[in-house]
């Protein structure tokens, strides 16, 4: 079993051209010695500017993705080589992350890294085997097929309620399952994401922060994997 966690509709983008002239955008860019189109859209800085944007309630929250990625990459599941991590953004960019990437812990450094990624298409910019790379994805279903994914679970509070442990057992039963977790502040996942899922499931009867879902899914899968004795360290103990 290899689990793919795919953070979908992630609220990660460079400031769109229509906002380049806004005072808050120009101020952030100037303070950081960058051009307005080279910085991430960030609701904590560009709240007023964003009022003009369509779907603004889903945008400008790279902090959500930061916490989710930290959790996924630091997990035992990742350290054991059983996890793949991808990001699909609201703009339909697809980001592949090398499992050995050591993500910046500091938010402001993470922002700098993601800006570099979105501008150059990969980090480090000159690498032939980059830690992260971006590509356009025209069809999620095709991408999943290309990755050999056997079943796609979308986590959504509107899905069928299932205990996390039972969901983890189903997941581990698959050869190459994918779990989709929305990485945006409010609202529904996009229609394309919904249509790409085989099952839509909820692990609580109310909405949860993306990192709470990430944490629970990874941990429950780890518990099931450990219960099956698939991991080799510490035989006979614990």
């Amino acid at each position: 079993m290899h689990l793919s966690i795919i953070f979908v509709d992630a609220a990660l983008e460079l400031v769109p051209k229509s906002l380049w002239g806004h005072p808050s955008v120009r101020a952030t860019a100037a303070r950081r010695g960058k051009k307005p189109g080279e910085i991430l859209l960030d609701k904590s800085l560009h709240y007023h500017a964003m009022k003009r944007l369509p779907f603004s309630h889903k945008r400008g929250r790279p902090d959500i993705l930061h916490v989710c990625l930290l959790l996924a990459l630091s997990s035992i599941l990742n350290k054991e080589g059983l996890l793949r991590v991808y990001v699909e953004t609201l703009e339909k960019q697809w980001i592949t992350i090398n499992p050995e990437t050591r993500l910046p812990r500091n938010y402001n450094r993470f922002v700098g890294l993601m800006e570099q990624l979105l501008i150059y298409g990969k980090v480090p910019p000159g690498a032939s085997d980059p830690l992260m790379k971006v590509e356009r994805v025209s069809s999620l279903r095709e991408k999943f097929a290309e990755l050999g994914i056997s079943r796609v679970y979308l986590l959504s509070e509107k899905g069928k309620l299932i205990k996390a442990r039972r969901l983890a057992e189903e997941i581990v039963h698959e050869k190459s399952p994918a779990v989709l977790i929305g990485c945006f502040p409010r609202g529904d996942v996009s229609e394309e994401v919904q249509n790409s899922a085989d099952e839509i499931v909820a692990i609580a009867p109310y909405s949860l922060d993306a990192w709470a879902v990430t944490c629970r899914i990874i941990s429950s899968v780890e518990d099931v994997v450990e219960a099956r004795g698939e991991r080799l360290e510490n035989p006979g103990k614990g």
Copy 2:
């Protein structure tokens, strides 16, 4: 069962007086319109200044606490009223957090809030029933007794290896268990913290980021609580 999660030796402090004159500290303070003693020590900004400090490898990382607190407060366990969250800092400050606190998601706003907390002793500063409050703690053991804690588990890579699920079963068996998780970048927990624990346990044979431990413990406890059917929502489903 009420679980107390206590983030220990947390790398959270205002810039100490000995560094007030350092250029990097003065620059951060000036940029934010604050005095050097009113801002958090932050390794990503004050790396060079911190070289002079004792125990500098354990200090200046409020980002670790931020992610851990986000996870704990967003968890199903907290939403179900089964969690209490406390912080003990390297300086022996004790922070009590109201379970209904909505923590800032943005790191820079979290920093501002924690500065306010450490300066005024509570937030909001004027509240009679604050969301967070700080006190001095002279003895951890006495504090645990005051909170009625029945058993104290310290998570440390040097502890006895145990599967997270089995640990969670032990925890849930207690009336008022506490789990101590170090919130600093490197090194051992302080001797006092070690001595305050009834058991020292590890859930992996290598060191894990504090948020990975937080995530796993909370999730495994949630799984055990759900398996016992102690939660009422969704009877007969899932």
